[in-house]
Symmetry: C2
Subunit: 273 residues, 2 copies
């Protein structure tokens, strides 16, 4: 059996990325780790996000992964370069795939980005977009209410719509963007609300789908695609509540999650690595 692909996230948001990875790469085996206990990462200082991310990475490296996907925008913004430099395996984050897809999609070169405070303050998206094309103009906006709302399961209804409307108003006022990057892996769960508020003409880019495609390319490029015939058995780990995680995961995947464990990564286990 070939080596698995590791996926890390601050919690359950990265499951949107994992689902796309499993759909676009059905022969690959995935190991997912969500740091639900310490979610959200968005408001945390850079040093803390980096420390937490390295704890997750060490846990997955011990499982002999062949590639690492950072399915969390905040962690990508603060650790991607460092991990690419330090790890002996390919590492991909969710920011660059989203940026490249937006450049492909935008006709007027005005791109919106929404994300957590950490991601937006890091300026990772504007920097990436403008490093590819100087003429791109970016309007970015942090949306602190969205992650708690999604974690609470408030995905539809008047209350949710009201929150999305009020939060996105500054972006609507600035206007003229034709493409909007969902710079947080929780946001695809409220895409219908975001689309409704921003208008049907705006192209909404989901980093999950894009990241899965780039993961596929990088594996092919390294000639590391899996070719097994039997169905892969994925593993899921959370640092938080098992039942809550299982419930959310089972809602998102067609088949029930088989292997699922609570792990501790901030204590003796991880420092013993």
């Amino acid at each position: 059996m070939g080596q698995p692909i590791g996926v890390i996230d601050s919690g359950v948001g990265g499951l949107t990325v994992a689902r796309e990875l499993m759909r676009q790469l059905p022969k690959e085996r995935f190991i997912y780790l969500g740091d639900t206990k310490r979610c959200p990462y968005g408001p945390r200082p850079e040093q803390e996000v980096r420390a937490f991310t390295w704890q997750m990475v060490r846990f997955l490296l011990a499982k002999d992964i062949k590639m690492l996907v950072i399915a969390c925008n905040t962690a990508t913004a603060f650790t991607l370069r460092e991990l690419q430099r330090e790890l002996p395996i390919p590492v991909i984050g969710v920011i660059e795939p989203g940026a490249r897809a937006a450049i492909k999609a935008s006709k007027n070169k005005r791109i919106g980005v929404i994300g957590t405070e950490g991601t937006i303050e890091s300026k990772a998206y504007p920097n990436k977009l403008m490093s590819i094309d100087d003429e791109i103009r970016v309007n970015d906006l942090s949306c602190p209410p969205f992650v708690p709302m999604v974690e609470e399961g408030i995905l539809t209804g008047d209350q949710a719509l009201g929150i999305v409307e009020r939060t996105l108003q500054p972006l609507k006022d600035m206007n003229h963007i034709d493409t909007l990057i969902l710079g947080c892996t929780h946001y695809p769960l409220i895409t219908p609300l975001i689309q409704q508020v921003m208008g049907e003409s705006i192209q909404v880019i989901s980093s999950g789908e894009e990241t899965a495609r780039e993961a596929s390319l990088i594996l092919a490029y390294h000639d590391a695609l899996e070719n097994r015939k039997e169905k892969p058995v994925h593993e899921f780990y959370t640092t938080g509540d098992l039942e809550k995680f299982r419930q959310i995961a089972n809602n998102w995947f067609d088949e029930p999650v088989q292997v699922l464990e609570v792990v501790e990564i901030d204590g003796a286990k991880s420092s013993a690595y």
Copy 2:
């Protein structure tokens, strides 16, 4: 001034890929070579396509390119692996990006592919698609009339629509695909006709746009993206008629093509390399 990116094609079809590359990578400098004199490659035997492609590659290697894009499906089908193995620079073709984009787009896992005789007979698309996902079902069809039609500039009107309708009929009869790959770089020029015949619900994948995005990723991955401020001056070369090439190129690009030369690659020049 940084190194340029080389783009090769059997003729003018690859200009659709070049245009997308220039749009998505506006800081990069491109050198395009179209083997118009010997176009089309589609009906030629594999050995001949390989020999012609190597002649183009040698011409571009002498211009110190940092990456090679094979913007011709037939040449990609027959030479991609070989060129990736032999050349010291990254080589990307148009088939894998199209395949990956189709996998991302398709919901029912039934994908159509149209292309030249050479591309379709090579089974490069079905092989690639099914190597990623066993459950994908592919209906492919060669469309010999399309390249001559496009080269003649017949892109709209009843005559063109009639040709497209008759040619695609077998694919319509088999049916049930939800995604169609344009497996030839000439075909994006008749996308509206193809969409009209196949129906609006079919997602049409243009390899040009997809290849440009993957080129962007591979350059970023190798930390080889250009960062110059001045506008790049691209170079175009053809083995065929200069005026005809200039006319088509100027129709396709917003600004007139500046550097354009006729070159010989099948004679003394190429063998002297």
